[in-house]
Every structure is written in C-alpha cells, then in structure tokens.
Symmetry: C2
Subunit: 223 residues, 2 copies
C-alpha cells in the first residue's frame, strides 16, 4: 500500500500553479524545501526570497512556478488532502461493516503522520505539521468565496463528503452528518495544535489519542 502511494503522482488543481512543479528538478526542490522552511519559520515569516537562498536559486525563478506564497500554501494543502484521500479510499474500500469503515476513516484523517512514508521529495510528516498550523489560514481570507468557486478546496470538501456518507451508513437518521464530518476533520487539526501549545485545555497527549476521542464520540452519537 505504501509502495502504491509512493509511485502515484498526486494531481493538484492546475490553477494553483503557473508551472507544474512536478515537471522539473527546481520545481521539486521548491516543494520539498518550502515545506521545511514553512515548518521552521512559520508561514508569516516565509518568503520566496528566503526560500531562494535556501535552495540556491533565485526569487524570480520561484515566481515562475507560483504566483504567491498563498497559492503555494494552497498547493501544498491540496496535495496533502489528495494524499489523505487516496489513503482513505484504499484503506477503507474493502471494509463492509459501516462502523468499522467509519472508524478506519477517522483514524486516517485524525492520526498524526509520524513517518516520512516515501522516496518522494515530499516529507509527509512535516507536511502534516504544516497543515495543523497553517491550513486554516488558506480559507480564513476575504478571497474564500472566489477561490472556492475556482475549486481550490474541492479535495478537502470531497473528504468531508466521503466521511459524511460513512456516517449516514452507520446511522441514516442522524440529522447532522455533514456537521459531524467537518467537525472531525477540522477539530482534529485543532486538537493536535492544542496538544502542542495549549496542553491545559485538551485531554489528548502522546498516550491518549485523538482518534480514540473521535471514535468514542461517533459510537455514542450514532449508535
């Protein structure tokens, strides 16, 4: 399964880049190192100039791939959610029991990514950390509606819709399947953040997992 994913090229909305970074060495270097640099200094302090210095390339060359750092973050997010969606589809496909299927989906969507899975230039573990800290910022902007229309959040919404269907499969009478699904996906990012920075307002820790909380929650809510 991991090998399958490693060989897969994850495709991302074309409007997010000027030139597809997957088509060149420089492009891949941009992706690889932007992930590391954003993680190191945070998205606010991250600039194309700094990235250029790190990869021994020029600011202007990076602009040939991405219009802005916001688009780059949208690209990284989109890539991340596509990757999660593949995992979600492959790993739940053969599960027939609805509750078991939903539980597996919750694990995939909420668990911390600990290992760098692949041979690829993308370190999924660091990307996961970026998503926790930065993903919310991609849509909390004045341009959301516009960018939503352009399809920049399609994969993210698609994951939530898949989970919604799984919830409905467990209990077709539950009135808030969509809200529950979107709460799990966004809420788990938030709980990961609390675990790191606001330990006093979460019960979750290394030993007490986020997936357990949500699986307990859906069992009590849906059964």
């Amino acid at each position: 399964m991991d090998n399958l994913l490693a060989n897969l090229t994850i495709s991302v909305n074309e409007k997010l880049y000027v030139k597809n970074p997957e088509t060149s060495d420089l492009g891949k270097k941009i992706i690889e190192n932007s992930i590391i640099l954003i993680h190191e200094i945070g998205f606010e302090a991250f600039t194309f100039k700094k990235l250029g210095e790190r990869i021994q390339s020029n600011e202007s060359s990076i602009y040939r791939y991405f219009e802005s750092k916001h688009k780059l973050l949208l690209y990284l997010s989109s890539w991340y959610w596509s990757w999660i969606q593949y995992k979600l589809v492959f790993e739940t496909n053969n599960i027939s029991n609805p509750l078991e299927k939903l539980s597996k989906a919750i694990i995939i969507v909420t668990e911390e990514i600990k290992e760098d899975v692949s041979i690829r230039h993308i370190d999924e573990s660091i990307l996961n950390k970026i998503i926790i800290c930065e993903f919310t910022k991609t849509f909390l902007t004045k341009e959301v509606d516009e960018e939503n229309k352009k399809g920049f959040f399609l994969v993210y919404k698609s994951i939530i819709n898949r989970i919604t269907l799984m919830i409905e499969d467990v209990n077709p009478n539950y009135k808030y399947a969509k809200t529950l699904a979107s709460s799990i996906v966004e809420g788990s990012l938030h709980q990961h953040y609390l675990k790191e920075h606001f330990k006093t307002i979460t019960n979750l820790s290394e030993s007490n997992s986020i997936s357990d909380f949500y699986i307990d929650l859906i069992k009590k809510t849906l059964l």
Copy 2:
C-alpha cells in the same frame, strides 16, 4: 442583565496595549472603528494607516495605543471572550441542574450574536463576526508559546475550563471533558464560518442552529 453588562467595564490584560484605549475618546474611536474596518476589509488588508484615515486621525497616534495590529486583534479577542465569560457566569449561575446548566452554557458560547447589545462603542454583533473569521489567527503563529506565557489567552482558556467543569458535573466518568469543551468552543466558530462560505459541508443554517447540534452531541455523549 443586559444593562448590567452595559455598565460593566470589561478589563483586558494590560500587556496588550501601550495605552489603555478605554481612557480616551481617541482610544474608544480606535476600538469602535477597528472592529468595523477589520470586518469590512479583513485582518490581512487592515492597516493602522487606513484606520487613521477612517477616524480622521494619524497612524502615529494609533501606535501610541497599540504596538501592532496583531496586539490590537488580541485585545479585541480578549475583550470578546471576557464579555462572553460574564454572560456565561451570570446566566448559568442560578441553574442547579447540571445538564440544564451545560446546555445554557453551550447556547451562550455557540450562538450567533445578532443584536448590538449596548450603548457602548463596541458592536458585539460585528465583533462576533470578526472572532469567527480572525480569532484563530491570533494563536496560529510562531509566537504562541511566548504569548501564552504572558497570559494573552487566559480568558479564552478560562471559558473552556468552566465548560469542562460543567461537563464533569453532568458525567464525572467521561474521559475527554477538556477536549469536548475546547472542541465545542472552537468548533462552533468553524461551523459559523462554514455556514457562510462552505454550505455544502455543514447541516447548519439559519433555521438549523449550531447550539442544537452541540446540545444533541453532549446529551448523547454524556448521558
């Protein structure tokens, strides 16, 4: 009760301002109009220069009250959560039934603020909208830990702790009281945002309230 609140001066961590905006006309104008302007153009596009133009004052004068727009947003957030905390304490104080008490708390924390409550210079309804769009950004920064130590998020955490206690009062055996409480507070902001910008991934709407979802959730989870 509304009158009581209207006359109350809500106090905010002193480290958040250079000069207390409550002590002068200009200060109050800054608060009043920053809320309106941030709501209009979003926090990213908001600058002290633009605010100065709007209130016919000077950029440099605004810097005498707040070090940066980030501190100003922290101030507004802190003010908002203090105000919510007052409502929470006053309105749940005399309720003895634990479930009823928790339900009331959930309504206070999750409901949309529709009316501008007071005679004050602060429009709570618009402030509520800002919190929905911008509050998360106050802590998703590289400076969180530092600012958390300085107590910038104390009121927010205090609200979550109060709700945690109420949850434990309903069911002392529930293992995730803190996580549930923090999920409700942050999650409701997120659901309000979805209602506005991503309608397809929430069941909530004008007629289907966020409070109902969470009250249903806690009943199923705790009873």
